[in-house]
């Protein structure tokens, strides 16, 4: 499976667009707030004024400059998505691999735990969490990942079962390798493309869930995020705010997801596509 990655990836159009887009967005998220013309919480502008020289995207209903709100929102949403994506991935991989490797009883227990977590509606858990302790964004991301790790776990488990019986792993075991050695040395790297796909799906879910929660009014409006911007914009759907207020956050959100999807598609060609599984 040694394919000279650089050589292979270098020319792949999907990879180039994915990486390009990813860099631009990271730059935007990282440096954006530094360059933003105004403080997003500053409400001293005329509400709902159309895009003008000093307000490139106009002002929203609360009198805040949309463009700077967008930059801050972008950073928060991207951070939120990445954090939720990683935590869900970590949990999913840990449980999935353990279930596949130890099999038998632990496998059944892990999978049924996954079912239980899947069964409980996420909206209820979020409300409970929001009320029991004031959810900082980090806490919310963790809660989201606790709700969403089962799907990754199931996918990783089913694929790990297949890989576990490959010849080179029998050989390693025959050579006296310990379970942990095989897990770390063989199983973990073998499933690398799955981690990417898992991360992509969870990050996307987290960003969209943030938007839906904002829409249902369960999220703290003070913390800027693309979801909040979209939900406030949707309130004034009857006005002509589509182009300057609603579209930019939607485009940014879809750019974020597109970057990750492009990367997954390009890397899918490089890694053994046989490992692809439903997520």
């Amino acid at each position: 499976m040694h394919i000279s990655f650089r050589h292979e990836l270098g020319r792949d159009p999907w990879f180039i667009t994915g990486i390009g887009l990813g860099l631009v967005l990271l730059l935007l998220a990282g440096l954006g707030p530094v360059f933003s013309p105004y403080d997003p919480h500053d409400i001293s502008f005329r509400p709902l004024s159309p895009p003008s020289a000093d307000h490139w995207l106009g002002v929203n209903d609360g009198g805040m400059d949309i463009f700077s709100e967008l930059l801050f929102g972008m950073r928060n949403t991207a951070g939120f998505g990445i954090l939720a994506g990683f935590t869900a991935l970590f949990l999913g991989v840990a449980v999935g691999l353990a279930a596949a490797w130890f099999g038998g009883f632990t496998d059944q227990i892990a999978m049924r735990l996954a079912d239980v977590v899947l069964a409980v509606p996420s909206v209820m858990i979020l409300i409970m969490a929001a009320s029991l302790f004031r959810p900082s964004p980090v806490m919310l991301a963790v809660i989201l990942s606790i709700i969403s790790w089962p799907t990754t776990a199931k996918a990783i488990r089913s694929q790990a079962l297949v890989v576990k019986n490959r010849l080179h792993i029998h050989a390693a075991r025959q050579a006296g390798a310990s379970g942990i050695y095989i897990l770390a040395r063989h199983l973990l790297p073998e499933l690398f493309p799955l981690y990417l796909i898992g991360f992509a799906a969870k990050a996307r879910m987290a960003m969209f869930m943030e938007a839906s929660l904002a829409f249902l009014g369960l999220l703290d409006p003070a913390r800027k995020s693309l979801g909040i911007i979209i939900s406030f914009a949707l309130k004034y759907y009857y006005m002509d705010i589509w182009w300057n207020w609603l579209l930019p956050p939607v485009i940014l959100l879809s750019l974020l997801t597109m970057t990750v999807t492009f990367l997954v598609i390009s890397l899918e060609k490089v890694f053994d596509p046989r490992l692809k599984e439903a997520l």
Partner: protein, 325 residues
């Protein structure tokens, strides 16, 4: 599968079922405040202390878990405080709408995504595949909320082709056929929103697994047998790309209850999602417990069915459990 395996399987599922029932019993109790707080505190009516106590008395406080289990088994799922109707009636009233909307949209996007995915993978490298993957990726980035409102504005407001809310024109005096017509009319927009929300994911997944399968040797044998191209593509290649799609279908069904809350809110479409959201808002404990129970049982049932169907879809997995540890 060996019969020993079945017994173990059902035993574990029964245990998981028990845990779920307990979860559906205890989790709602953690929600802060109770029915009386939610209903009366912010209302126009000001209660005196003893009035408050009196009202609380007439709403039976939660009995123990064993009593709860007993009621469950004897199908007495309790009364919803707010709607004063048995929980089972409410659920039976809301479930068909959710099945129609979520199930229909999910099924249609699965079918359409699958066929599109197979065709795109077959013309690998052609412009069809590039165009397909490109626009699907863009569509995947758009949250369902925005598609919902956009469709609403476009079709309901400017073009006026479709009604903007509700599952059917309320209390209209229609004949059976007209009523069905009216329902499809109302269903169109939410259905399309969900359909467009799920389509990209399914398409990209199928394309991915098809690309893997097309490299297999038996596809070439099928072509060599001079079979018609469609048979080669579907009976042989697509048949083996079915497994990942089937897993996703099973997992998604689990989200049926809360999956479409946002779309239901935008289109004011009656469904389990809205019912649950209202029940949580009103802290209507027995209704919440009922809905959570239904969704847990559905997840359990779907998983069990998938485990059995896995063997049929891919015979190689049939004896997956016998693999050496």
């Amino acid at each position: 599968m060996k019969d020993g395996h079945y017994i173990k399987l059902t035993a574990v599922y029964f245990f998981a079922g028990l845990v779920m029932v307990y979860a559906s019993y205890s989790l709602p109790k953690w929600l802060p405040g109770d029915f009386v707080t939610a209903m009366y505190y912010g209302s126009n009516v000001t209660l005196t202390a003893e009035q408050e106590a009196q009202i609380r008395a007439c709403y039976p406080c939660q009995e123990g878990f064993s009593r709860y289990l007993l009621n469950l088994l004897s199908l007495k799922w309790g009364y919803s405080y707010a709607f004063l109707t048995p929980v089972s009636d409410l659920i039976l009233e809301a479930l068909p709408w959710t099945l129609l909307l979520f199930g229909g949209a999910h099924g249609a996007s699965m079918l359409f995504g699958f066929i599109a995915g197979v065709e795109a993978a077959w013309r690998r490298g052609g412009w069809v595949e590039k165009a397909g993957v490109g626009c699907m990726t863009i569509m995947e980035g758009v949250p369902e909320m925005c598609t919902g409102v956009a469709l609403l504005m476009l079709f309901a407001l400017w073009l006026g082709w479709f009604p903007s809310s509700g599952a059917e024109t309320a209390y209209s005096i229609y004949s059976a056929i007209e009523r069905i017509w009216d329902m499809t009319h109302h269903l169109a927009l939410p259905f399309t929103t969900l359909f467009l929300a799920y389509l990209p994911g399914n398409f990209l997944l199928t394309r991915g697994s098809m690309v893997m399968v097309l490299k297999e040797q038996f596809v070439q044998t099928a072509r060599a047998k001079g079979l018609p191209p469609s048979r080669v593509r579907y009976a042989h290649a697509a048949r083996n790309a079915l497994l990942p799609m089937f897993t996703r279908f099973g997992l998604r069904i689990a989200f049926m209850v809360t999956g479409a809350v946002v779309v239901e809110t935008i289109f004011s479409y009656p469904g389990m999602g809205t019912l649950l959201y209202k029940a949580i808002g009103l802290r209507d404990l027995s209704l919440i417990q009922g809905i959570v129970l239904i969704s847990s049982l559905m997840v359990l049932f779907v998983n069990l069915a998938m485990e059995i169907l896995y063997g049929i879809i891919d015979p190689r997995i049939r004896n997956a459990y016998k693999l050496p540890a």
